[in-house]
Structures are given as C-alpha cells and as structure tokens.
Symmetry: none
Amino acid sequence: MKALLIVSDGMGDRPNKKLGGKTPLQAAETPNLDYVAKIGCCGIMDTISPGIPPGSDTAHLAIFGYDPYEYYTGRGAFEALGVGIRIYPGDVAFRANFATFEEQENGLLVTDRRAGRKVPEGGKLAEKLNKYRLKTAKDVKFRFEHSVEHRGVLVLSGSGLSYKVSDTDPHETLQMVHECKPLDDSKEALKTAKIVNELNTAFHEILKNNPLNQERISRGEPPANGVLLRGAGILPKVTPLNQMYGVSCSCVAAAALYRGVAAAVGMKLFKAPGDTATYETDEESIARTVLDILPENDLVFIHFKPTDNASHDGNPELKAKMIEKLDNMVGKLVEGIDLENEHYIAVTADHTTPCSVQEHTGEPVPLVMAGPGVRTDQTTAFSEIDCQRGGLGRLRGKDIMPIIMDYLGKTRIFGS
Amino acid sequence: MKALLIVSDGMGDRPNKKLGGKTPLQAAETPNLDYVAKIGCCGIMDTISPGIPPGSDTAHLAIFGYDPYEYYTGRGAFEALGVGIRIYPGDVAFRANFATFEEQENGLLVTDRRAGRKVPEGGKLAEKLNKYRLKTAKDVKFRFEHSVEHRGVLVLSGSGLSYKVSDTDPHETLQMVHECKPLDDSKEALKTAKIVNELNTAFHEILKNNPLNQERISRGEPPANGVLLRGAGILPKVTPLNQMYGVSCSCVAAAALYRGVAAAVGMKLFKAPGDTATYETDEESIARTVLDILPENDLVFIHFKPTDNASHDGNPELKAKMIEKLDNMVGKLVEGIDLENEHYIAVTADHTTPCSVQEHTGEPVPLVMAGPGVRTDQTTAFSEIDCQRGGLGRLRGKDIMPIIMDYLGKTRIFGS
C-alpha cells in the first residue's frame, strides 16, 4: 500500500462574483478531482483551527501531523533545508535578501529590498562575507549561502542562540533597516540580536566596497550592498515520519519552504523538471516524477504552487485555470496508480486564500481521500461547498497523516 | 466590515410531543432566520464540549473566544460588572440576596430566599451594612451594593483572597444558612471563608434591628434581615477582545450576567429601552439600539433572554412564540444592514434548555453565519435538525469569535 498526498497551495476560496458566485474550484472543469471525490470520501479541514489563517510553514507542519502550536520554531530553518543547506539542532537560520542600502545620518535606508532581483554575483559576494569573524561572540560561527536570484540563507551556529529575535528586514522599501531585537527576555535572544546587528553593519561595509558592486553601479544596476534578514528559525524537535511510522517518504516540490518542511519531517526531496512553481509549471512532468519515485516510497507528498499565486494576484479566472492544471496532474497520477487495490490518494489545500482578499484566511479547505476500502459518501464533485457535506466531516490538519498512515497499515493500536 | 452576534438564551431544545415532535425552533414561524440560513452557512455548536451543559457565564465566555476551562473564575465578578459595580483584579465578588432568616438554636433558618422579592429599602440597608468593619482581617475591605429587587453584590478587596469558597445560600427555603467553606487547601480560601462567615453573622445582627425591617414586619412583609451569598468570583485574566483583535465591540443586553461577561472581555454596554429580558421585551427596540450603535462598532453582541425563560417554565408553545419575537428582531436587523457587501450576522444559542427538562442540557445548539463571501450550504431552514447537515459542521463555542474576526479581517496569520 502506498499513498499520494497532494497539497494545492491556497486552493480554498470564497464564492466569487466574477465567477457567478462560484468558487474557483467550483468554476473549474475538474473531471479527475470529481472522479476521486465520487469514488472516495470528502470533508473539510481546518489546517490549524477554525478561523485561524495558517502560514505556509505552520500549515504544512500540521498536514504532516505535527501540532504547530507545539512544534513551530520559525521559518528560517525550513528555508535553509529547502535550498539544500545543512543545518543542525541549535543552529539559527534566517531567510536573507541581497538588498540595496543607502547610508543616511540616522542609519541605513533600504532603496531596493531585492537589489534588482538579479544578483549573479551572489556566490562570490557570499565568499567575502563568510571571511568575516564575529567580534561580539567568539563561540558563534556563521555561514551565509546564496541560493537563487537575490535570495540566500544566513545560519548561526554555536552555543546559547535563540530564534526569538526580530527581522532586520523592514518588509517595505524606503524604510530604514530595522535593528534586530530580542523577542523575549532570555540572554540567548539578546546575544543573537547583538550578533545579527553586528553582521548587518559588517556585511554592508564588506559589500559596499566590493568591486563587483562597483561594476553593478557602473552598469546602472542597484548594488547588492546589504543583506536583509527575516524569519529566524531553528529545526523543530520532531520525530520524523520515517522514524515515527517506519515509512519511506518523499517530497516532490519546487519552492524552498515546502521542500524544507518536508525535509525537516524526514522526507527525501525531489524536483520535477519543468516544475517552476509558477503559472507555467509543467504539471505532467510533476506526475511523471511522482510515478517514477513511487516504487521506492510508501508516501509521496506533492506540492502544487500556482493556485496560490493566482490567489495572491487576485485573479479567480486564472486560479480556476491553475486548478484545471492541478486536475490534469491528478488525472495523470490516477492513470498511473491502482486506487482499487494498492494506492491511496489525498488531495487538499494548505489554506484558503480568497482571490477577493489576496491573503490567507481562516476558512477550512476541501479534502478528499480515496483508495482501497475507503468509505464512500454522496459527494460527486470536489469543491469547498460540496465537501462540506462529505463523509469525513470537519477535520484538523494534524489528523490527516494519522489517517493516511492508518490506511497504509503503519499505525499502532493505542492500548490493547 | 462589521458583525452582529446574536445569542438567543437557551434556544436549543429537543423534539417535543406538545409540538407534534418538533422543536420550538422548528414549530415557530421564522421567515427571517430561515432567510439567513438560506443565504448563509449553518452548523451545530457545542458551546463547551459534547454532552456538557454550559452555565450562562461559561457559555458566553466560550462564545466570546475564551476556553472556560482555562479562564472561568466564578460568576460573582460578572454579576458585579453587569450591574455597574467597579471591581478590580484580585477582588472577590459574590451574588447576594436580601433574604428572611429565622433564628434557631442551631443557626439561621432561611424562610424566604428573596425577602418577598420587593426590597425598596435595599439601598438604605446597604449603607448600614457598609459601616461595619471586619474583625477577622484588617487588610480586607468590603462593599455591599444593592442592585434591583432583592438582589445585590458583595465585593471583598484586599490581599490574600480567593474565590474558591462555597455559598452561604442553601439554594432552597427552609434550609439552614450554610457555613462558607474553603474549596481548596489554600490559606487564601480559608481566610476568605472566615470573612464571609463573619459578615453573614454581622449582617444579620445589623439588619434584624434596623427600623426599616420593623416597618416591613408591621406591614406584614418578610423582613430583609439577612444576606445570602453565592457564586464567588474574580475577574478572569483575559486579554479583552478590543486589545486582542483591535476592534471596537459593544453589547446590547438587559440581564446583568451577560452584560458582565461582555464587559469583562472589553465590550461597551448598552441597554435598549423596553428590553425587559422577559416575555414582554421590546425586540424591535433592541434592533433599533443595535443599528444605532453599529456605526461606532466592529462587533455588536446581542443577548435575547425570553427564549430561556420559556424553557425554564417548561412551555414549548410560549418558547416558539419567543423565537418568533427573536425572528422579528432578526428581520429588523437584516433590513438595516447589508449582508452582501458590508455586514456579517451570526445567530446561535448559549445552550440547549429543553422545555421537557427545564434545565440546561449538553446538546449542541444551532448556528448560522451569513455575510459577504460566506460559503453557502444546502440549509434553507434554521433549526436544531436542519443545522445538523450544515456546511459549518460541528464547532465549539470558542471557535466562533476567531471565525467572525477572520471575516472582519482582524486575525493574524500564524506562522509565515
């Protein structure tokens, strides 16, 4: 027995006037999702709890079976894992941007939070940054790693660190770089904040004088003369799924965060060729990759990103189209598996992102599960509305993984 | 975006033979509630948890979003707030009745728990009581305040007090006044119980000799010669709604307890003219008051009392009539708001009070929510039975406020 768990990012929505009062999922042509709904059992799921808008990281932790109120320890470590950076227990990781700073009397002004987005010099600049030695804490080391475009990760390693510190990133342009502040009264948070503030200044000094930045300026490009940090996080102290259930599990995803959460809970990471996590993503390639790796896995988690992009762009028609891409992917997967005898499939979303709001909201998401022995219900279409009357009722995100593992025969009786 | 939250007290019921097997809510003509059910989403709600009969105070705490198992600290403080008495953190407040005591060899017998209900001398008697100085604890002060009829509130202020003490009120006539006992092993509870017992004796001594009581006796009225105390409570340590969500919220209610819970969670208090909290209440006046204050509020909570009165009186036909009054109020409210673009409405009950039982029971209550973007379901009538198949599924009381705040755009993403 094997299972596929498909999470379509931000797929949940509200009835939308532009779609005649339908949700994008209702408006989309989804013969394959409807087929799964018809042979399976549907429900609605509060990823965290009713009315609470989930973040992408907490949502995936929950869907993987870990109560985020207990296990969530910031986003940074997931990002690090997601771009392939090693991180160890106790390390504090930050999401980092190369950015453009302008020196002012009262501090550093952010004139471009992404230094023009294109920073091919990132790797070389990172080398220079990594030569710096910390003065405020001799027992702490750091690594800065460039990933793609303007993005990177900063990892602090050493004793007495904390992820309870604020961002230096003001999250808006033409704002001053923020001072990093401790978010609790611990000496660990104070120490970490001091280190971050030292690095903020030191990085700017190193970068502003680098000849690569002089070349950027002479080409008319914004210099990558600063590093903005946000989302401090440590590895959550979870028992990984492979240990907890004795399963082999993998993730097929393109975006770093989702790969990172999957890695943190013990999944191997794969990326399908042509999976861009954008509107142009090659959904059939994702399906092929999943079917390729399925023989070596008990569980494959598939993250489908474009539905959320359309939600944040406020475009319900495009969201419906992206749901049709998802449906096409589901169709290819269903063709390649045996839902009658051997395989389970679960399709859901990590959160609701109404096109009318363009942000995560707290409504539940639709959920369908199908496979051998799954009790059917009367639902024949997959949507937020139809699933409300489904046989699974109203579940929480953290319930999904135990249910899947139970179908796979990997749970243990509690008691005797 | 603004929201109305209507709680019809004790509205939930069981199928009743006197109504041909219908519940009062099914039997009542409720075109306006049915309209809200049709355009909105329905469900059932366990105010506390399945099978647990909620008190009026715990039920409202839960509906306002606070887990009563965590936050409930007795009823007294709510009563005090509800009748407009100032109370501070650490103060212990008791609900108080003027009562008629008869001295017996082994103590004080309660011959009328309410001293005939009419105690217009209450204010003057209270003045006399407040001149007494405590002997058992010099660091504690008290205030007795008369509210209406035979009712009042006793507030103890000082250090080292506890609300974990028992009632002196035997809750039945022709029983002895109970000794106040500590309900845990703390020295605070022991100290508080000693104070209460001292006041019980002292109040009787002061009252029995008061000329106003001699006049009552000469008129053939039962003397108000004792004070029965019950429901010790302190202010719950909650973050008020206005702080938690940054909203302005108000309460329109007549009965003290509900006003008190609302005040404790940060609501401003209003009372509609003609809202008597009885069968004669002017429901259209309540609607007018709500619509009057709505422009200055994000959330208005409306408490509708008569449905519970009919339940405790065991009269299902009258309860159905009171539900029709509620329906009329809902109709006036719906006329005055814009459920398509601007306003949300939620209607529910605080608990089930079956007319056949005449007491609170643990069944869930019906719930409907409607407003812009609310996912609809197939429910077209508002009742305990119809709502069982509604799209909201089965929720807990404490989920309601996050859901409303999420619709108002007042929640924050958990995680990132």
